[in-house]
Every structure is written in structure tokens, then in C-alpha cells.
């Protein structure tokens, strides 16, 4: 083992790096030292590629049912035998469905969850900062939405708008913002009493600018943690909706749907649950670790790791 060299910060010589390359360099350097984050980003990129390139990677079309994909007693067959990850109870190729399902699940996980995050932050920030009747109206609205039974609310909305990917995204966003709105509001309540917020007001900045420039950066760590965890929840809500027949219309594969279906066949065909389950776990883990890294990167007071 060699002793680690003593690292000293280079003395600021007159010509140091300009702002832009320094930022990029910081990103790369922190990635080099944060292996889990690096792996997570690679995983996320691979997932995205798999979803985009699904038609090239899949050996079978995802919706095709194969008679030879079912055993004599009608049970799905396991991995191998021409189907790399086995088949499902309808005799369809699990790998193909997994790849195509990534499209739906990632889109829903990112889009629905992203929309919910934006909504939650806007409501929480406005309510917490402005207070008064604005806060009362917004937070009571939050309470009302929270008090709805989630699935009933979704079913009601979807049955009006009709099931489609777009509507599933909107509906999930509409129910999922409330918790974040409450968290953000409570943080803003304590932040707005801090002296730098008062100082910003004495400079005559508008409410909007104080919220956007002075409060928002303090909320980023919370938002990142909540949003990355929310990816999983959104994908699972979509699964429940699909299970009830109001999610993504039926033959289109999604991970949530596959998990729902796999649960029933768990004892005879565990791969049905494991394949999408492992993908979901990997996705969520990768989002979380990448989120942690991003949070540290954005914190100017965090000590730089060597």
C-alpha cells in the first residue's frame, strides 16, 4: 500500500480556469471520485438506450403470442429455449416486453413524476412564502386532494378522459404532488424567516425573484431526494392503474403491468416477477444514487472530495 500523496490546492496563479470549463471539470472530477454515481449514470444511460433501441434489441415482437412459448399444460416456459427471459402466460417473449415496457415505464416515471414535482414545488413555495389567504387556499386544496382515495380518483378521472399514456401521466401527476407541496411549504416557512431573505427584500426584489433565486436553491436537496424516490412510486401507481384496466391500454407492455401479472404466477414462473422487478429496483437505485451525487455537486459549501 502506498501512502496517499498530500494534496494541496494549487495556488491561484493569475491565469486560472475560466468559469465554464471549471464547472465541467468539477462535474467530471466529482464523478471520478463517486463510483456509485458513475455506475448509476451508466445504468440510466443504458436503460434509456434499451428503451430507445428496443426494436433492435428484442428478438421477438412484444405483442406476438407464440404457441411454442407455452408448455404442454399451458404454463409459461422459463428462460432459454429460444426465449432469453422465458415467456409469460400468454406465450409472449418476456425480454421483448421488458424492453418495450421500459419505454412506457421510464416515460411515466420521469414525466408524471417530474410534472408532480413541478406542481408540488410551485404550490408549496407559493403557499409557504406568501402566507395569508393564498396559503390557506393552496394548502386546503392540498388536503382535499390528499383525502381522495388515490385509485378511485384515478379511475374517475381516467373514465372521463379515456385511458391513454398521456392521461395516465397527467392523472399520476395530479395526485402525486401533494406530499411534496407540504414538505416544501414547511421548509419555506422556516427559510423565509432567515435573515438573507429579509435582506433580499430590503434590496427591493420582487416576491417571484426572492422565491426563485433566494429560496429555491435551498429546496433543491429535498426536491432531488423526493423526486428520485418518486420515480418508483409513479411506476407502481401506473401498475395498479393498468391492473384495474384504466392504465396504459392493455396489450402495450409496462413494467408495472408485468409485475402485477407476475405476482399471480410467482410460484410456477418466478422470472415473470423477477425480470421487471430487478429492472425497477435498478432504475430506482440508479436515480437515487445519481440524485445524491447531484445534490452534493450543487451544494457549494460541501467539501470537495479528493
Amino acid at each position: 500500500m502506498t501512502a496517499p500523496p498530500i494534496v494541496t490546492t494549487p495556488a491561484p496563479s493569475g491565469e486560472t480556469v475560466a468559469t465554464e470549463p471549471a464547472g465541467m471539470r468539477r462535474v467530471l472530477r466529482s464523478l471520478r471520485h463517486d463510483k456509485p454515481a458513475l455506475i448509476s449514470i451508466v445504468v440510466l444511460v443504458l436503460l434509456a438506450l434499451a428503451a430507445i433501441l428496443a426494436p433492435l434489441l428484442a428478438s421477438h415482437p412484444p405483442l406476438q403470442t407464440y404457441p411454442e412459448g407455452l408448455a404442454a399444460n399451458g404454463a409459461p416456459i422459463g428462460p432459454g429455449h429460444g426465449f432469453p427471459l422465458g415467456t409469460d402466460p400468454n406465450g409472449r417473449d418476456v425480454l421483448a416486453r421488458l424492453l418495450y415496457g421500459a419505454r412506457v415505464s421510464l416515460v411515466i416515471g420521469i414525466l408524471a413524476n417530474g410534472l408532480a414535482t413541478v406542481l408540488g414545488v410551485l404550490v408549496g413555495l407559493t403557499a409557504g412564502y406568501l402566507g395569508g389567504w393564498v396559503e390557506t387556499v393552496l394548502m386546503r386544496l392540498t388536503d382535499v386532494v390528499m383525502s381522495f382515495p388515490i385509485l378511485l380518483f384515478c379511475i374517475a378521472l381516467i373514465s372521463v378522459t379515456g385511458p391513454s399514456e398521456r392521461n395516465v401521466v397527467i392523472v399520476i401527476a395530479l395526485i402525486y404532488w401533494t406530499t411534496l407541496a407540504r414538505i416544501i411549504r414547511s421548509q419555506v416557512l422556516s427559510l423565509r424567516e432567515r435573515e438573507f431573505v429579509v435582506a433580499a427584500r430590503t434590496m427591493g426584489l420582487s416576491h417571484w425573484r426572492v422565491m426563485r433565486r433566494h429560496l429555491f436553491p435551498h429546496l433543491v436537496p429535498t426536491i432531488i431526494v423526493y423526486a428520485t424516490l418518486g420515480v418508483a412510486s409513479s411506476i407502481l401507481i401506473e401498475a395498479s392503474l393498468s391492473f384495474l384496466g384504466v392504465g396504459v391500454p392493455v396489450p402495450t407492455p409496462s413494467w408495472g403491468q408485468m409485475i402485477e401479472q407476475g405476482k399471480e404466477y410467482f410460484q410456477i414462473a418466478p422470472w415473470l416477477l423477477f425480470a421487471p422487478g430487478v429492472c425497477l429496483i435498478l432504475t430506482v437505485l440508479a436515480f437515487n444514487l445519481a440524485g445524491d451525487w447531484l445534490r452534493d455537486l450543487l451544494d457549494p459549501t460541501a467539501p470537495e472530495r479528493r
Partner: protein, 328 residues
């Protein structure tokens, strides 16, 4: 001379759980253009609340009475838009703790340029150049590069310099400095005061300096207001007040400043007791319980503010200057 700030019979009450507590009880003050006025008093004397009332920073639980006029305009009647246009451009504030009054997550340059962009309508690059000039002006070396640093990369004294640069950015007519040196080392205090002195001199900015430290106030201000329990107990030019305090409270404050010359006292004299907490009965002098010269009348009649010298006023039944003349 024209008055920049005229505060007349300002009262501030805080209502909490149904009970009203008076924090400021009839404060009047006048600041001429370019003048430096100090407000001195113990914790809880209402000096900071007075400053916040002028800036319209008080929470909604506060009831403000009396009038605050800035360059002839009624500040208490300003709406949100007027307030935002006024703050930062015509009036600015420096706070006590530069650690907490700068946003830790924003670059110093961003915080400096905000006001410039908003009030002086400068472009991004112009604002940045101006910010660098300001930073250099307050004595920060390598200003151009330091603009990209975050507040934690500055020392306490440097942060307060940054805060002063932010306050002075749009050359306001009045800067209110609320205990600007209290959180700093003594040596740094002097530097920060010098800087404030230099800047306000250069731009002929009027200053209201709020402090509990009569030493700081007397070295900086043209005029002093001594506050006690929400009232101005003595007011006048610095020289007159320091040389010949009329109110026993002012006298006691002066006596408790350590001196270099003369015979050393065994113990530094302190004012016995503590300032009244909460409401003070309207029909007595709030200082009576701690006053060495208190008479029965001090506990039954509130002393009116009367002239006690050619240019000073005090609210005391037995002003020391008069008492000395009588005994002489």
C-alpha cells in the same frame, strides 16, 4: 437642509395571543440629507424595531402608528410595488450578522448584481463590471474573481464589506445599519466603520446607525438618540451628549464604557437591574427602578421630553445638567 427621513410619534405594538405589547412608544426622529444619526440603547429598547418599522419589515402581528415620511412621502402608505421600487434604490439596510444576511447558496456576484439590474437597469455585463468596481471599492482584493465565490469563502469582516457594497450599490439616499459591527472582532469593527464612513462620505449618504455600543455610535454619528423601553430618553448632537449627558441613563451608559486615561476604577460600573420586560406603566419613568436619582414623582408621572441644553432634549424630571447648575 431637507429631511430625508422624518419619523413622527412612531408606535409599534405586537399582538400575541390576544395581548398587546408596546415595543416602540412614540419615537420621533429626523435625518437630514447626508446626516448620520445613531440610535443607542440596550437590548429590547426598541431600536431595531424602529429601524424595521421604517423599512416596513415588521410582521403582520405588529401594529404601527404615527408616521414615517421619506423625502416627504408617506412610507406607511406604500403598496407592494412602490415598496419594492423604493427599497434598494432609495434606502438600503446592513444587518448585524453577515453570516446569515448573505444567501449561502448564491455567488456574491449574483447578490451584488441583483439590485443593480433591478434598480439601475444595467445589462448583465455592465452589472458585473459595476459589481467588481463596488467590491474593489469596499477593499476586497482580486474583486473580479471573487465575484464568483460563495459567501462561505469570505471571512466575517469581508462578508460585512460585501453587505455594505450591496447596500451602497444603487447609491441610496439613506442606509440603515442595524448593529453592523456587533458580530465582528474589535479590529474588524473599526475597519468596517471606517469603510461605512468613507462610503457614506463619498456618496453623501445619510446613515442611521443602530447599536448598543455608545462607543461605536459616538465615533461615527453627528447626532445621537438614546432609547430606553421604547422611548427616546435623550437626543442631541454627539458632542453635547457625550460631554454633558442630561439623562441619568445616558450618563450610566457613558460611565460603563472603559476608559484609557484617568484613574482605573476597581470595577467597571454597570447599570444595576435589567430593562423592563413587556409593558411599562404609562404614568411613570421606565428607568425609575434602576435610576440612582429617582424621586417619588418619577414613579407617578411620566417625564415629558424637554429641552435640556441649547440643542439637546431629554425625557427626565431631574436632568443632570440642570441638577448640576442648581447645586453649583
Amino acid at each position: 437642509m431637507t429631511a430625508i427621513l422624518e419619523v413622527d410619534d412612531l408606535t409599534v405594538d405586537f399582538t400575541r395571543a390576544g395581548t398587546r405589547t408596546a415595543a416602540v412608544r412614540g419615537v420621533s426622529l429626523r435625518v437630514e440629507a447626508g446626516e448620520r444619526v445613531g440610535i443607542v440603547g440596550e437590548s429590547g429598547s426598541g431600536k431595531s424595531v424602529t429601524a424595521q418599522a421604517v423599512m416596513r419589515l415588521l410582521p403582520t402581528t405588529a401594529t404601527v402608528g404615527g408616521s414615517v415620511r421619506f423625502a416627504g412621502q408617506d412610507v406607511l402608505a406604500y403598496d407592494a410595488a412602490k415598496l419594492a421600487a423604493w427599497r434598494g434604490a432609495d434606502i438600503a439596510m446592513v444587518f448585524q450578522d453577515p453570516m446569515s444576511s448573505l444567501n449561502p447558496l448564491l455567488r456574491v456576484g449574483t447578490q451584488l448584481t441583483e439590485g443593480l439590474r433591478r434598480h439601475r437597469g444595467l445589462s448583465k455585463s455592465d452589472a458585473r463590471a459595476e459589481a467588481a468596481r463596488l467590491l474593489k471599492l469596499v477593499g476586497i482584493a482580486d474583486a473580479d474573481r471573487r465575484l464568483d465565490d460563495y459567501p462561505h469563502a469570505f471571512s466575517g469582516g469581508m462578508r460585512q464589506r460585501v453587505c455594505i457594497a450591496i447596500a451602497a450599490a444603487c447609491t441610496p439616499k439613506l442606509i440603515i445599519a442595524d448593529e453592523p459591527t456587533t458580530a465582528l472582532d474589535v479590529t474588524v469593527q473599526a475597519q468596517v466603520l471606517d469603510l461605512l464612513d468613507e462610503l457614506t462620505e463619498r456618496y453623501a449618504t445619510a446613515t442611521v446607525l443602530v447599536s448598543h455600543d455608545l462607543g461605536v455610535i459616538s465615533s461615527f454619528c453627528d447626532r445621537i438618540l438614546v432609547m430606553y423601553a421604547g422611548r427616546v430618553v435623550e437626543a442631541g448632537p454627539t458632542d453635547d451628549i457625550v460631554a454633558d449627558p442630561a439623562h441619568p441613563y445616558t450618563r450610566a451608559l457613558l460611565d460603563s464604557i472603559p476608559r484609557l486615561e484617568g484613574e482605573l476604577p476597581r470595577r467597571l460600573p454597570a447599570i444595576p437591574g435589567s430593562p423592563p420586560f413587556g409593558d411599562v406603566p404609562a404614568d411613570s419613568c421606565a428607568f425609575a427602578d434602576r435610576c440612582a436619582y429617582a424621586q417619588p414623582v418619577c414613579r407617578t408621572v411620566a417625564p415629558p421630553t424637554v429641552p435640556v441644553g441649547p440643542r439637546t432634549q431629554a425625557a427626565c424630571h431631574f436632568p443632570l445638567t440642570l441638577a448640576e447648575e442648581v447645586t453649583r
